[in-house]
Every structure is written in structure tokens, then in C-alpha cells.
């Protein structure tokens, strides 16, 4: 399976405002995670920092641009850059999202890239596209990858399967693992107007097969005007921590990342969130 749970621990995202503290007195972290595309350049300061981080910690490469669900297929340039980065960094894990971003705006026009995580339908056809694209990535990288569930702000009336069923089939047919974003499940449940969002999220977790989840993401969300946004700009919410505890009970300890991408907090606050995840993992292992 993609992503071994034997080395389960907590990690944080590598962010520029925290570099001085991270490299000045490296805290005990199980891994750091970066957005792969930020290191696609041929050289430069960012890549040097990533190598510096790699000397201290295992690194998880988390992509936001493969657009794995795109019916237009993968961009060979993107895959080549990712492969080069994987060879340079030898990451602990490689992941991206269950989304699309590449399509032509009008028939016959060039394929553009939305640079966003756009939702796919949960249909047999969308699943077939995803399986083919994930297989292509894994063959190129010569390693299994993890695919993350999205927070999506629209969904489709003609879905023919549930999201957990979709992931179960995706993992079985492609050999990939799942990156379970607990916050995204909660955001979707809230936006869907679930009567009991916590119960809906726990049911989602319970519907996933054992053995497919290779990493968990935690983050904060924003309750905006009429919509909940997965903004990664605050502490993990109490309801998300509860779903996380439920997931740990079901899956055991799983490598867990605290994502915080906007309104970055002090390094201490971010570390405290990671420590809380570690403590819950330890509790789950003991139980």
C-alpha cells in the first residue's frame, strides 16, 4: 500500500516564515510536507531550502497540479517535473488530489490548466479516467501514490456511487492509497447541510476499507457567507479533531499532517497542533 503506517507520526507543512525557527532549532517532527509544484524550478533558493529540510526530516511531496481526474489526461511536462523532483528528494510519500483542472475552454481549443482543485463526478467514467491517470503517474514514478479526497463547493446529481466507494475502487484498481483529509469531509458535510455533520463524517470514515489510508490531513476551515471554505487558515476545529479520533480508532495510527497555508500562525502554535495530533495517535495505539 502507498504510505506505511508503521512510521506513523505527525508532520507540518514547510513554510517560509517558519524557516528560521525550523532550521535554527529543528523540533522533533516525523516529516515535513511541501507542495511539489513549488519546487519544479531547475534550481534556486526554494530547492536549496528543500534539500536542507530533507537533510533533517523525511519529506512528503503533496501535489496540487497533476489534475488526476482530468479527462484531457495528464500534462507530460508536469509528470516529468514531478519525476525529477522525486528523484532529487526521495520523498517518504507522493500524493495529489482527486480532482480535475485540465480541459479546453471550447471544443478544439488548447487544454488549459485551472490551477485549482475542481470537483469530479463519482461515476464509472470519472473513476476510469482517474484510475488510468493514477496508473500512469505510478508507472512513471515507479512507486505508489496517495490520492486525497476534496472539499468541493459543487457536486453532481448523476453520481452513481458514494465517495468512499469511489475511493475503495480507485485504490483497488490502481494500487494507490488514500490521503484522507478529515477537514475536507467536514467541510463537505457542512456545505451539504447534513443534520449531524459529525455523524456524517464518521459514517464516511466507516465506509472506507481498512488498509487504504496512508496519510491524514488536518486543517482549519472558514465559515463564510452561506458557505464553508477549506481555507487552511486557522486551528483545527474541535469537530474535526473528533472525526480524526474516530479515524484513528478505525485505522490505527496514520501519518498525519497539520495543514496551515493562509494566515500563518507562529511556529509554536503550528507545532502545538502537530503535538496534539501525535498525542491522539499515541492514545489510539495504546487503546
Amino acid at each position: 500500500m502507498a504510505g506505511e503506517t508503521a512510521q506513523a507520526g505527525a508532520g507540518i507543512g514547510l513554510r517560509q516564515p517558519h524557516y528560521a525557527e525550523l532550521f535554527g532549532a529543528p523540533p522533533p517532527l516525523d516529516f515535513v510536507e511541501v507542495h511539489s509544484e513549488n519546487f519544479f524550478a531547475d534550481g534556486g533558493a526554494a530547492l536549496a531550502v528543500l534539500h536542507q529540510a530533507r537533510a533533517l526530516y523525511p519529506v512528503s511531496l503533496h501535489g496540487v497540479g497533476l489534475a488526476l481526474g482530468s479527462a484531457a489526461g495528464l500534462d507530460p511536462w508536469h509528470l516529468e517535473r514531478l519525476d525529477r523532483l522525486v528523484q532529487r528528494i526521495e520523498p517518504l510519500r507522493v500524493s495529489d488530489h482527486s480532482c480535475f483542472a485540465r480541459a479546453a475552454l471550447r471544443p478544439g481549443q488548447p487544454v488549459v490548466h485551472a490551477n485549482d482543485l475542481l470537483p469530479i463526478a463519482f461515476t464509472d467514467a470519472a473513476l476510469a479516467i482517474m484510475v488510468a491517470n493514477v496508473t500512469q503517474v505510478q508507472e512513471r514514478l515507479r512507486r505508489p501514490m496517495l490520492v486525497e479526497n476534496l472539499s468541493s463547493y459543487v457536486s453532481f446529481a448523476d453520481d452513481s456511487m458514494s465517495e468512499p466507494e469511489y475511493f475503495a475502487q480507485l485504490c483497488r484498481r490502481s494500487g494507490c492509497g488514500m490521503l484522507l483529509d478529515v477537514n475536507n469531509i467536514m467541510v463537505n458535510a457542512l456545505n451539504a447541510g447534513a443534520n449531524d455533520p459529525l455523524a456524517a463524517c464518521c459514517a464516511f470514515v466507516d465506509a472506507l476499507p481498512l488498509g487504504i489510508v496512508g496519510e491524514i490531513h488536518l486543517a482549519g476551515y472558514l465559515q463564510a457567507d452561506g458557505i464553508v471554505i477549506d481555507d487552511h487558515g486557522s486551528r483545527v476545529r474541535p469537530d474535526v479533531w473528533r472525526v480524526y479520533e474516530h479515524a484513528l480508532k478505525r485505522f490505527g495510527a496514520v501519518p498525519t499532517l497539520v495543514e496551515w497555508d493562509t494566515e500563518l500562525p507562529s511556529f509554536g502554535v503550528l507545532l502545538a497542533e502537530a503535538e496534539q495530533a501525535s498525542a491522539l495517535m499515541a492514545k489510539a495505539v495504546v487503546a
Binding site: A41, G44, G65, S70, P110, V112, H113, D116
Partner: protein, 265 residues
């Protein structure tokens, strides 16, 4: 299984996000109510606009300083819609931005903006270029080999820009602290009044790309090197007034030079 249906759904969703703010296209089969779907699509549009501004401001910092943050935000969003990215790496976006700015009617008052954007872009590319180490031993070739069979290689990302506008002076004025700002912009005004063009070399200093103003001979010389000309041809183009020894000393000290190589037949 209908693969073409998914392809069409994705095209429709992307087009709905790129187009005017209207209700979702009917072929999308969105589950949510019309109002709810509109709110959801608006969230994606807001993401795209924030990303456009963030990506382009990272690459075109001087242009942003020149037009102001609010104007830049509008320009970035307009450009993003007019010329959507083809790659999933926002660091690669904006290649067409300088030309697009030059052709933008609202920017006609600042005809130097396009060249200032080109300079920003050259700096951005330089900072993403491959890292290289100076091959000091290769300098021995200068003593032993016919200059017609040698070429000097500059560090990856090095670029020469020529402009009929004072791009180096404008660039520098947007980087000085407030205490020196008035004097710096007085220099810009004077250079514009004098219709002074400038040519520059973009090189890396540490991890940062920097701008070095060049004379005519220096620009001719550097362009020849970047084009892969032989040392003798580059010297001939630079002319008799060009001080190769002084340039070489600076190039080694400032780490402009990657090394000296023998040309193959």
C-alpha cells in the same frame, strides 16, 4: 460508461468559471440549488482571482509597485482570463504578460511598462534557473587555446535586455527605502525626459537575481556570449574599447561566469 460525458462536464465547468458570473451551465448536472451552486462557483472564481494576483505579483513585483496593488489585482485577473495558464505550476505563468500589458489600452500612458515587465520576468526566470558552480580550472584554457576555439559560458539564467526606456533606473527606484525615494524618482523623471534607453544584465547574486546596467559594448559582448559565439567573435563584436581583462575580473568575482569551454567542430 460515458467518458465523453465527463470530458464535456469538465469543459463546461471550467468554461463556467472562466466566463461571466451567471448561473451554472445546465449540462453540468450540479446537485445543489441554483443559488447554492452560484455560491459554490463563486468560491472557485475567488480562488482563481487570488491565485492570479499571487502568482503574477511574485513574478512581476516592479509592475505591481508601479501600477499599485488594486490596479494590479484587476490586471492580473483580466490577464488570467484572457490567457489562462497551460501548466499546473504557477511559477511558469505570465510569459505573455509583458506583451499583453503593452497592448492594454489602459496602460498606454506608461509605454515603458512592457519592458519593465520583461525585466521582472528575466529576474523571475533567473531565480528559478539551474544552480551551477564556477569551473575555475577552465580559465587555464584562455592561456592555452586559440580564442576562435573557445567560448565563455555565463551562469544559467543570465539575460541581457535592451530597452528604449530607462528600465534599470525605474527598477532601482522601486527598491529604495523611503528616505531615498524622492531622489530615485527624480532620476527616473530625468531619464524619461532625456529619452534615455538602458540595457541591463540580469545575474544571480547569492540566491537573488539582480540588475546590472551595461554600456553598449558590454551588452553586445554579453549577447554574443549568451548566443554561444566564440571568444574571438564576441571580442570583435564588442569592439576595441571593450576591456576584456576588467570584465573577466568582474565576472569571476561576481560569479557571472560558469566557465570556459572548447568549441567543437
Amino acid at each position: 460508461m460515458n467518458l465523453s460525458r465527463e470530458a464535456e462536464r469538465q469543459r463546461l465547468l471550467l468554461a463556467a468559471l472562466a466566463g461571466p458570473v451567471t448561473a451554472a451551465a445546465p449540462g453540468l448536472s450540479i446537485r445543489e440549488s441554483q443559488a447554492r451552486a452560484a455560491r459554490g462557483l463563486e468560491a472557485y472564481r475567488a480562488n482563481a482571482e487570488a491565485l492570479a494576483e499571487r502568482a503574477l505579483s511574485a513574478a512581476f513585483a516592479t509592475v505591481q509597485a508601479m501600477v499599485g496593488e488594486e490596479n494590479f489585482r484587476h490586471l492580473a485577473c483580466e490577464f488570467w482570463r484572457a490567457d489562462p495558464p497551460l501548466r499546473g505550476d504557477v511559477g511558469e505563468c505570465g510569459d505573455a504578460f509583458p506583451v499583453w500589458l503593452e497592448l492594454h489600452a489602459a496602460m498606454a500612458r506608461w509605454p515603458w511598462l512592457g519592458d519593465c515587465a520583461r525585466l521582472d520576468q528575466a529576474l523571475h526566470h533567473n531565480e528559478r534557473a539551474a544552480d551551477a558552480v564556477f569551473d575555475a580550472a577552465s580559465l587555464a584554457l584562455l592561456e592555452s587555446t586559440d580564442p576562435a576555439r573557445l567560448a565563455l559560458q555565463l551562469m544559467p539564467g543570465t539575460a541581457v535586455l535592451r530597452s528604449r526606456w530607462p528600465i534599470a533606473t525605474i527598477h532601482a527606484a522601486h527598491r529604495v527605502d523611503e528616505a531615498h525615494s524622492e531622489a530615485a524618482f527624480a532620476q527616473v523623471r530625468a531619464a524619461l525626459d532625456a529619452k534615455r534607453g538602458e540595457q541591463v544584465l540580469v545575474v544571480r547574486q547569492g540566491w537573488r537575481a539582480v540588475v546590472c546596467e551595461l554600456g553598449q559594448a558590454g551588452a553586445d559582448w554579453a549577447e554574443q556570449l549568451l548566443a554561444g559565439a566564440s571568444l574571438s567573435a564576441a571580442l570583435e563584436r564588442a569592439g576595441e574599447g571593450f576591456d576584456f581583462a576588467a570584465w573577466l575580473g568582474t565576472a569571476v568575482r561576481e560569479q557571472w561566469l560558469k566557465g570556459v569551454v572548447e568549441l567543437r567542430d
